[in-house]
Symmetry: C2
Subunit: 226 residues, 2 copies
DNA sequence: CCGGAAACAGGTAGAAATACCTGTTTTTGA
DNA sequence: TCAAAAACAGGTATTTCTACCTGTTTCCGG
């Protein structure tokens, strides 16, 4: 008998995790050997574990609990850094194409929507093990669309550039409905400086105004709705 | 042997649905007899069915496919109208308290977060069947918080009032990053009129500026992030 | 049929944001 | 250590938004 493929689950919703376990366990060639609900504990937990999964299924929309942000993207990067042999498949709900592309660029080996067939999960797992990656047509299209979009949004550079720490900070405060002057006061800066960052934000995100900035922030996990 | 409780699942994510089915089927007193992926087909499908579920588990975050919006809230209302005997339990991911309160007000009999224990699902199902409802402390707190919040946001009236059709329409366009003049042109209105609606929006939502409006829109399903 | 809400439209004023510049200092990475 | 990027700060001009008013018309429910 062939050795089983060891699977790790990173998913905050307990119900979904249990469900996935039930689904995966139905295949004789698959064993779920690791589970985690929060992103930031994954690497630590794995280091203390004696069984390292071959494939990790990571939920994209892990909530950024508390202060620290540790979404599916961060988990992917951290995992690849510490366990370069682990194959990573991203699971996502109703996410956005631009984000998927980012994930793949971050080094994820596969991508699945939660609204897929259980068989597809099995396929994906086998595929990342044997071929090293799994990209279905849907994902491919998303990536292509996104790349296509990138070049036409503003300039070739702008969309690829990512925000700096300060810019993210200010974007968050904008989402908190603070005005430029209020932000300046809060961060002990000149309003002119904040204004500069604001302009950079509009430039980099391709947003037309605050509405666009807020949407961008939410889409990219910089701000939350609640 | 006692009769089984018939369960219906309304959940767009196929994987989650399968998982839930697996979990639910593990209990001998429960049978999954109905499934739907989209909200707007539920009532129709049920009318054509000869087995009516006793309890419906409805995903709150059903995506508003295409033009028509038919989220968990609409499904709840439609179900209660057509099948008043069905008990409805809302399932939600990382949703917002204010929304939960709305759901309960819409007539849902119970509320569960997706990050709960499978046992809790079982408890909830039994509870809505025998006692007619299921509210855990977490939900109760959410509702109370929300009610508490309502009274202090702006005025007693403002937060309770809901937006008119026109206001929602304009809010959507604001989220699309249109300026007042652009909205006016698009809707064949005077910019002054749009301005008036804008002011009403700020007043009713308690938002301080567009950022607040966008957040409100997303929180209440009027606009989407993608 | 009447009252109230919604939608419409107008005005004035000031606050805030956006679009362009310019430059210096500090941090960081190759 | 050297160059690039980030953060900082300033100026000017214009657009857009927000906060107050005023009023009319239309439509719907009691």
């Amino acid at each position: 008998m062939q050795e089983k493929i060891n699977i790790g689950l990173v998913e905050d919703q307990f119900l979904f995790r249990q469900g996935m376990k039930a689904i995966l366990s139905a295949w004789p060639d698959i064993a779920v050997v690791f589970e985690a609900a929060e992103g930031y504990t994954v690497v630590e937990k794995l280091k203390g574990s004696n069984v390292i999964p071959h494939v990790m299924l990571v939920d994209l929309s892990l909530p950024p609990d508390g202060a620290r942000e540790f979404s599916g993207k961060e988990v992917t990067i951290a995992l690849l850094k510490n366990f370069p042999d682990i194959k990573i498949i991203i699971l996502s709900g109703h996410e956005h194409e631009s984000f998927i592309a980012q994930l793949i660029e971050s080094g994820a080996h596969g991508y699945l929507v939660k609204d897929c067939d259980p068989d597809e999960v099995h396929d994906a797992i086998l595929s990342v093990c044997t071929k090293g990656s799994y990209i279905n047509t849907r994902t491919l299209k998303a990536i292509q669309n996104n790349i296509g979009r990138k070049t036409k949004v503003h300039s070739i550079r702008s969309a690829v550039e990512q925000l700096t720490k300060r810019e993210e900070e200010i974007l968050q405060l904008i989402c908190n409905q603070l005005t430029t002057d209020e932000i300046a006061e809060k961060l002990f800066l000149s309003p002119k400086t904040v204004n500069g960052h604001r302009n950079s934000l509009l430039e980099k995100t391709g947003a037309k105004n605050v509405a666009g900035l807020v949407l961008y922030a939410i889409k990219n996990g910089i701000a939350e709705v609640g």
